[in-house]
């Protein structure tokens, strides 16, 4: 027997079903009635089984800002990838691995997750430990580490979340 923590909201169920169904149609690329019908049944079943998880909070402004942040992050990824490639191919292997402890000024769980993921996604730096908003970062050399110390990623993320309600 499935126990539910909160009642199912019908618009949430509807939105989830529609989203899943759109993906079904896109992936199956078949418009036969049997396939569409099966897709609708399964989309509804999955949406219904998952409806107890989280309330639907539309935060389009936040998602738009995160979306606009991605190109910048991508530029950073390419920049540090080239730097790391240079390090690896250098005959003398001039690396200097060290751990950096950073205390961020972010006040959202999601913001800290985004910061940790961005740091790890950028080659040359990896988030090793997260405790509330203290991060321990492993950097492969001083140049990669300088990006963490200068906090440019954190400032970008703080800007994304500036209008959200703090929850940390």
């Amino acid at each position: 027997m499935v126990t539910r923590s909160r009642p199912i909201s019908s618009e949430f169920l509807f939105l989830k079903t529609i989203t899943l169904f759109v993906f079904w149609v896109l992936f199956s690329a078949s418009f036969e009635w049997v396939h569409l019908g099966l897709g609708l049944i399964f989309s509804f079943a999955v949406a219904w089984l998952n409806s107890g998880h989280s309330p639907f909070v539309p935060r389009f402004r936040l998602w738009l800002r995160i979306f606009l942040y991605i190109p910048w992050l991508f530029y950073e990824i390419i920049r540090s990838s080239l730097h790391l490639s240079k390090l690896i191919l250098h005959p003398a292997l001039p690396i200097d691995p060290h751990l950096i402890s950073v205390e961020s000024k972010l006040h959202h769980h999601a913001a800290v997750v985004l910061l940790g993921n961005s740091i790890t996604l950028t080659p040359g730096t990896i988030t090793a430990e997260v405790d509330r908003n203290n991060l321990i970062v492993h950097a492969i050399d001083k140049v990669s580490g300088a990006d963490i110390v200068s906090k440019q990623i954190e400032l970008k993320i703080a800007d994304i979340f500036k209008d959200e309600k703090p929850d940390l």
């Binding site: 690896i88 996604l121 492993h138």
Partner: protein, 99 residues
Amino acid sequence: MNILAIIFMSAGLFFLVVAAIGVVRLPDVFSRSHAVSLTDSLGAFLMLIGVAFHEGLDTNTLKILVVLVLLYILNPVIAHATIRAALRSGLKPWKKENL
């Protein structure tokens, strides 16, 4: 279309080879995982873009896009989990002075 595919795949291949060299050359698990993250964030990305160009624009392109999004969400999680496990098990990161 095919020329673009070749360009992207070659670029991807370059980063994959560099990452493989890095895994062999670098001294410990921490710095090696940096090389591995090079594979994920640029090598696989360029490779998949190349495949998308090769396939042309159809539903397969969309599937590749979904793979890309999942790759970018899941890879940092795996890298972080590995490094955290290494650190918590008491492994000391390799230092320059130890030479």
